[in-house]
């Protein structure tokens, strides 16, 4: 096996291990976007999920910076990810600057953020479009056939994770699962706001601490987020003190 094959195998083994456990959908899909960016050598990756009304929302991304999130979030209105979702086919933009007129608002923000190429991969369950996996490179260039196949396989894994999480909900309905996944991202953003403001740290660091704490305590990211935003003041203070102390493993 060459280096990449080895990494691909390791990534899929790791993801399948996580999916047979009681997982948190935002945590698992965040991990998936990180692995995807690393395997394919792209600067940023993000998952956009459609709600029951067919509007795309950000579920997970490799960066927590609001400006990067905006590059994904904006595609609820226009962009290669939205086109990919609507057509059900991959959309590859090897040189965004050359095609900026296709999506004027999106291109302006993405180029300003330093992105030069975009690849959007569809997520689906049978015939139903679920969302899009978006990959952003800082230099122009296309993905080769093998890279596209890896991205599509990761998008399938993300689709299965979301569907599996839906089964766990009481109504057991994919529609309610989509709604719940979108809502859990909003809950996480609220928790990031509380932690960042209380500890005087950035949103990236707030996310890292919430995640690390959840992993150390073997709790779901969503449960920790819930306790951060809606706990009684005393309990919240205790939890924030623990988050302040979460040791950096590096």
């Amino acid at each position: 096996m060459n280096g990449r094959e080895h990494d691909v195998v390791r990534t899929f083994i790791d993801l399948s291990d996580r999916l047979v456990e009681d997982f948190d959908v935002v945590e698992v899909t965040t991990h998936l976007t990180e692995e995807c960016a690393q395997l394919l050598g792209v600067a940023a990756a993000g998952l956009l999920l459609a709600d029951v009304g067919g509007v795309l929302h950000l579920l997970a991304a490799t960066s927590q910076q609001l400006r990067t999130l905006e590059v994904f979030q904006l595609q609820g209105e226009e962009g290669p990810c939205l086109d990919c979702f609507r057509s059900g086919r991959p959309v590859s933009v090897a040189d965004l600057d050359a095609e900026r007129d296709r999506w004027p608002r999106f291109s302006a923000i993405a180029l300003e953020e330093g992105y030069a190429s975009v690849h959007a991969i569809p997520m689906r369950l049978r015939d139903e479009a679920l969302g899009t996996l978006g990959l952003f490179g800082t230099s122009p260039g296309a993905l080769d056939e093998e890279e596209l196949a890896i991205a599509q396989a990761l998008a399938h894994v993300a689709s299965l994770a979301i569907v599996q999480q839906s089964q766990a909900l009481s109504a057991g309905h994919v529609l309610t699962g989509l709604q719940a996944a979108v809502a859990s991202r909003r809950l996480l953003e609220m928790a990031k706001g509380v932690v960042a403001e209380s500890l005087g740290i950035g949103m990236d660091e707030a996310f890292t601490r919430l995640r690390r704490y959840a992993r150390l305590r073997d709790q779901r990211l969503g449960e920790v987020s819930y306790r951060v935003v809606s706990g009684m003041p005393v309990q919240r203070a205790a939890l924030l003190a623990e988050l302040a102390d979460v040791a950096d493993p590096s």
């Binding site: 609001l66 909003r186 609220m190 706001g193």
Partner: protein, 254 residues
């Protein structure tokens, strides 16, 4: 546009009109009956899983049934809020569904055979429920359930507005833009900023969103713009909501 996108547009359009809060809640419930395949709809707000009131309904029977659940302390609406998940009861008389004997009896007496309770939530945190009633038994079709879930999402707007009475009094309606309002609850920066308000003001998540939206309405700005100012620490909202509403609305720009 696909059918669900069209449904979202129709429900949003039906909710728009004069008066936020209770009037918008009534319009949304009416739209559920005319656009979805159900016979009655009611929207209720629930505090701490117990104290509740009915805010909007399509008919007096729907309202009565919602209020009855609070009186009895049992019913699908309360369960939907407690579990933060839809409670779908296609046949109220099915012995397997006899979780709420008092409610089931009262509903049956009023000709209701099936009830579908959908939680209304802000970022996964339930603040109320949208109850859909039917006079016949049977599951909801996927398209109807999808429409109900969209309506439950839209229902967060009148619920949040009703949590802030000053806001209701202060805001005139001619500028209301249902799309901007709806998108104010889909933008991630709004939730980050609400988190910052929770930390700064010691308020609940719903109150944080109410305060943010109130400030945006009062200053004729979008919730997203206000959120970015809060995140960048260019704006700090005052930390006493019981102050005289006029200066309290202003916030402190630096």
């Amino acid at each position: 546009m696909d059918s669900r996108g069209a449904m979202r547009l129709e429900l949003t359009a039906a909710m728009a009109g004069p008066g936020r809060g209770r009037e918008a809640a009534d319009r949304l419930c009416g739209a559920c009956v005319s656009l979805l395949d159900v016979d009655g709809a009611a929207l209720s707000v629930i505090y701490d899983g117990a104290i509740s009131r009915s805010l909007g309904s399509s008919s007096s029977v729907s309202r009565e049934l919602d209020e009855l659940q609070f009186t009895l302390g049992e019913g699908p609406c309360l369960d939907a809020v407690r579990s933060a998940a839809p409670v779908l009861i296609p046949d109220l008389n099915d012995p397997a569904m006899q979780r709420w004997p008092g409610f089931a009896r009262a509903a049956t007496q009023r000709g209701v055979r099936a009830v579908f309770a959908l939680p209304v939530a802000v970022a996964s945190l339930p603040i109320g429920a949208l109850d859909l009633y039917r006079t016949r038994t049977g599951d909801l079709a996927d398209s109807v359930l999808a429409g109900g879930l969209i309506a439950a999402e839209l229902a967060a707007l009148p619920l949040l507005d009703l949590m802030d009475l000053d806001l209701q009094a202060a805001v005139s309606d001619q500028d209301s833009d249902a799309w901007e309002q709806l998108s104010s609850l889909t933008r991630l920066e709004v939730y980050q900023a609400a988190g910052i308000l929770i930390a700064q003001l010691g308020v609940t998540p719903s109150e944080a969103l109410v305060r943010l939206r109130a400030h945006a309405f009062a200053h004729n700005r979008t919730a997203s713009e206000v959120a970015l100012d809060i995140i960048e620490h260019r704006l700090r909202l005052p930390d006493d909501s019981t102050d005289d509403p006029t200066p309290a609305e202003d916030g402190d720009y630096r």
